[in-house]
Amino acid sequence: MDKIDISLNINDKPFEVRVAPNDTLLEVLRDQLDLTGSKESCGEGVCGSCTVHMDDKPVRSCLTLALEAQGCNIKTVEGLANGDDLSDLQQSFIDHGAVQCGFCTPGMLMSADALLKSNPSPNEETTRKALSGNICRCTGYAKIVEAVCHAANPHDRCPDCKTDNNSGE
């Protein structure tokens, strides 16, 4: 049960870490690499707050061994923005008021980002299906689904939700 040296490719940067066989990818991301965007909630693959991408596919980092993540391109929520420039999806979450307590948001963003890569303008049904593995305990699903559906409409004003956006200002 010795620790093993591995290298992980996270957000296009190589990281050298020393892990035990029973370390999950989530534990390594949060505890060793300080990438605390991915959250641990249920720890058994039900809630989706720990979702990250492995080779562009969304997976649960709490049910992935760090050892198994070797050789994959891992992307966490920290890798979505380009420096201080938020991605369209992240900006859309803000514009549409899709963040409440924020605990589920990293997972939601990662699941939604994977969806948008295969389908840039998904309808409501597709979005709901793609996000069905993520739980929001504030139950703010309507805004989240709206944000994802309209992520393709860049930045400040989305024509479909214009009245919503203006009402708060």
Binding site: M1, G45, R60, S132
Partner: protein
């Protein structure tokens, strides 16, 4: 939640994996997608000394057609099966079942079809945290002598809630079990023991290698009932296969009905299905009768241990079988 400690073994070929399995036997567990195994380990239900990972074994990930069979490697991911045109067209029930497994982000890319078949039986009283279970005596599956699901039961009544296995059994699938220097093919319907503690007739040194689905024509369908549409196990499910007569296209020549999530294994109901022989595809009256008969047979096995009342689940067996039969018949007509 931390995983218990174990040693990680990463073989590069199937032969190496079988070698390791032959050496470590009961002390080792196979890690494919990990969506079932790692959860059980986190809850302390399982503490293997070794995990043998199939990560490098790409040779076990394929879908191909040979003669009249579709062959699926055991490590093929659920997502690949859903995306396969071949399975969609010739083994529709499997495709429908895979779509229902877990949620896109959990099971579909990591989870494998082999893992879905071999997902261990579940019970509300057993699949709980260490803390919960420590508050009372161990049940049969936990190494004790009590069953909390059925009073005075001398055996474990845990329920097989695999979507994939129910659909595959309806399709008449066979599975290939490999061990060092040996291979055997078993009919999936004969793969189950009647013991909830170890529900599968697989030796500790054997590895599920391949699933063989006959594709000799016929139309199939899968229906399930669960609390939620995602990240949930079925509380009742049904898979059916209808084969049509070669001479008359609207007459059923042979049928298979399998009811899942009601017992220690999916229930293959041959007698109930045989009543459909010679019936017309439009004969919903006959479907209803077969569905009711299925409900009566399945009800004898069911135990109140996976949520919803037993009465409701039993009634819904009939509904699920009926819907599956109607859907298969509609598909056959099209």
């Amino acid at each position: 939640m931390r995983l218990p400690r174990f040693d990680y073994l990463g073989p590069d070929t199937l032969d190496e994996a079988l070698d390791l399995l032959a050496t470590h036997r009961e002390e080792a567990k196979i890690l494919a997608g990990g969506t079932d195994l790692l959860v059980r380990m986190k809850k302390g239900l399982l503490t293997p000394k070794f995990l043998i990972s199939l990560k490098a074994l790409n040779e076990l990930s394929y879908i191909k057609k040979e003669n009249d069979c579709i062959k699926i490697g055991a490590r093929t991911s659920i997502a690949d099966i859903i995306a396969s045109d071949l399975i969609q067209k010739q083994a529709r029930a499997l495709s429908q079942a895979c779509e229902k497994i877990g949620a896109v982000t959990i099971q579909h890319y990591r989870g494998t079809i082999g893992g879905n078949i071999l997902q261990n039986n579940r019970c509300h009283h057993y699949n709980q945290s260490d803390f919960h279970r420590s508050g009372r005596q161990a049940c049969h599956k936990d190494g004790g002598k009590i069953c909390y699901a059925r009073d005075a039961s001398d055996r474990c009544n845990s329920t097989c809630q695999s979507d994939g296995a129910t659909a595959l059994m309806a399709l008449g699938a066979k599975i290939v079990l490999a061990s060092k220097g040996h291979e055997r093919t078993v009919d999936l319907a004969n793969f189950y023991t009647t013991d909830g503690i170890m529900p599968f007739a697989i030796e500790s040194y054997e590895l599920l290698k391949e699933i063989i689905v006959p594709a000799e024509g016929g139309s199939s369908a899968y229906q399930r009932l669960a609390y939620r549409s995602a990240i949930d196990y079925p509380i009742v499910c049904a898979g059916v296969l209808l084969k049509l007569s070669a001479s008359q296209k609207n007459i059923i020549d042979d049928a298979r009905i399998v009811v899942g999530a009601m017992s220690r294994s999916p229930l293959f109901l041959a007698r109930e299905a045989s009543s459909l022989k010679g019936k017309k595809l439009t004969d919903t009256e006959a479907f209803k009768k077969a569905a009711d008969a299925s409900m009566n047979s399945a009800a004898a096995f069911a135990v109140h241990n996976v949520g919803a009342t037993l009465e409701y689940r039993c009634v819904m067996v009939s509904e699920m079988v009926f819907r599956a039969l109607k859907s298969a018949a509609q598909d056959a007509k099209a």
